[in-house]
Symmetry: C2
């Protein structure tokens, strides 16, 4: 298929629109000045936005167009999961080079739309513009939640349990393995870590499966220690993590050895896993874990919240307790 | 104030959030994984998104940070006006260079927020990322409209009247004058055109002041002929414009002389005026014009819709009728 320079904006938008279907609740679809959408009665609107920049949030040599689109969906779906919202409608904003092949752009939209559709959402509008340097792909995702039922970061209390889904740190470990080993990272032994980095899945189904008892939630987009610290600051509490309680992860241990780093730094450090981190009332422990098993998602209690605001400590496997420094990913940080 | 590289993402976001206030209807504000917003009963959600790219949608040498922000607001407010929606909540997505001064970024947000607040809306969330080349500023604007009351592009019928607000073509003329005359374009004689280009205002108040009788609407972001053609295609009708009925515009006539072009090409050609173009039932003519006068906005009947789908004709001042070619702005078009 020709590039955008040949087809032009209008025809490209027409082809993109023809290749997708509007999700339920769409009153006026893309192609007008704005989309008109119908929220269910007694529900509130939940809105988030995220943009992925070429070379910064994804490396084209490691991801095809479909996976780039899927990853953009996941980043936003994960934010809604952390609010307990049901995803509904998405607006896409694309900054692409004039020579970008339109077929590849339709593939990107397909990856995005398929991942959204897995959770009941779809694209209802957007915006397409030309850029000269790095391309960027932005998504605004709208969802809904029963009135008053949204989770936030600020409801956690001392004594609450801290739970995390999946295996935090794998995405960051995958990125570091790829960076260090280059093409060799494509070997089968690194597949699980590479997939965690390149094809993360939002915990949307888990969020909707859980019952009452969650007091605060955040998704892991920067790294366990960094995102946990945000939850602690918002709630005005501290946390004591129990290293022995963390889910065993031989994949991560192997990566730590290959990279010559401490496995703990991989678990706690920068990593966009899109797992959910939850604070729950201790009384809801069994029901919460049972609901997660029912949803087919591993969920592990990894610590307890304390009454010392903003402090993050780790009880090491040996029994000692030490403070943890929370350093997330900062896109503006200069070279170290 | 230092740049983003020194302050970092988290502190910059904190300062941006501290410099604004959440608009009414905000249940959970920025600072969580997503915003939670409350739609009024019996209303539908209206959503649009637009991004302005440095050097393409605006030229930094002609606009300060406050005006860049205001213009981004206007582009999105205008889309909601064309749907008859009341603006409510905005999500901002910024791609900025690490050396961008944080004080300047706060100024940009101020321009954006002030323009939104003039129409009752405000910022509830966003996203900040680092770029290396051209900066881009994206906005998703959410509004609401009484159920079933949204205007669209597709309801116009043959016999309906075509009305336009303000003086279409001024923004494009201002841009061309600036391009041609450089610094001399800052002379007082060009002020009205320069303002139309650099400080356009969305017709949000007009849209909300009008009663029943509007059958279709679109905002002028590409140019009168191009945007009108979109409305004609969506509605399956044609249009006959009456040149003698167009609002007299000595400013535009003077620009046409200075540029050595036909004034008509300035009125009809590429221009992002953010005026409203409306099709109305002829029976609503007087009430519509009276409502516009009440809102302090000039609104002019410039033609009639016909039953020849997709054809756009102009009755010239001399009496002859000729076809018009609709060529809007295409960001992907190569050099002519």
């Amino acid at each position: 298929m020709p590039g955008l320079r040949d087809l032009g904006e209008v025809e490209t938008l027409r082809r993109l629109a023809a290749a997708r279907r509007a999700p339920p609740g769409t009153v006026v679809d893309a192609g007008d000045d704005a989309a008109v959408l119908r929220i269910r009665p007694d529900h509130e609107l939940v809105a988030t936005t995220d943009t992925q920049v070429e070379g910064r949030h994804f490396l084209p040599e490691w991801l095809d167009a479909v996976r780039i689109g899927a990853r953009l969906a996941t980043a936003n779906l994960s934010d809604l999961a952390a609010m307990r919202a049901t995803p509904r409608w998405a607006l896409v904003s694309l900054g692409v080079r004039p020579e970008h092949d339109v077929a590849a752009l339709i593939e990107l939209q397909r990856g995005l739309a398929v991942e959204l559709a897995r959770h009941g959402a779809g694209i209802v509008g957007g915006n397409l513009t030309a850029v000269e340097g790095a391309e960027w792909y932005g998504l605004t995702l709208l969802g809904e939640v029963a009135r008053g039922a949204a989770w936030t970061r600020h409801g956690a209390r001392p004594g609450d349990l801290l739970l995390v889904s999946g295996h935090p740190g794998r995405a960051g470990a995958g990125a570091r393995v790829a960076q260090r080993l280059g093409e060799s990272a494509r070997a089968p032994e690194w597949r699980a870590l590479l997939e965690a980095w390149l094809e993360p899945a939002a915990r949307a189904a888990l969020a909707l499966a859980l019952g009452e008892g969650v007091t605060a939630a955040i998704d892991l987009s920067d790294g366990l220690a960094g995102d946990l610290m945000r939850l602690l600051e918002a709630s005005g509490v501290g946390a004591l993590l129990d290293e022995a309680a963390f889910p065993a992860d031989p994949e991560l241990t192997r990566a730590a050895q290959a990279l010559g780093v401490d496995a703990r730094s991989l678990v706690l450090g920068p990593s966009d896993d899109y797992e959910l981190l939850l604070a729950i009332d201790p009384a809801a422990r069994e029901a919460t874990l049972a609901a997660a098993r029912g949803a087919g998602v591993s969920l592990t209690a990894i610590g307890t919240l304390t009454d010392v605001p903003g402090t993050l400590e780790l009880r090491e496997a040996g029994g000692g307790v030490r403070a943890i420094e929370a350093s997330g990913y900062d896109p503006f940080a200069g070279p170290a």
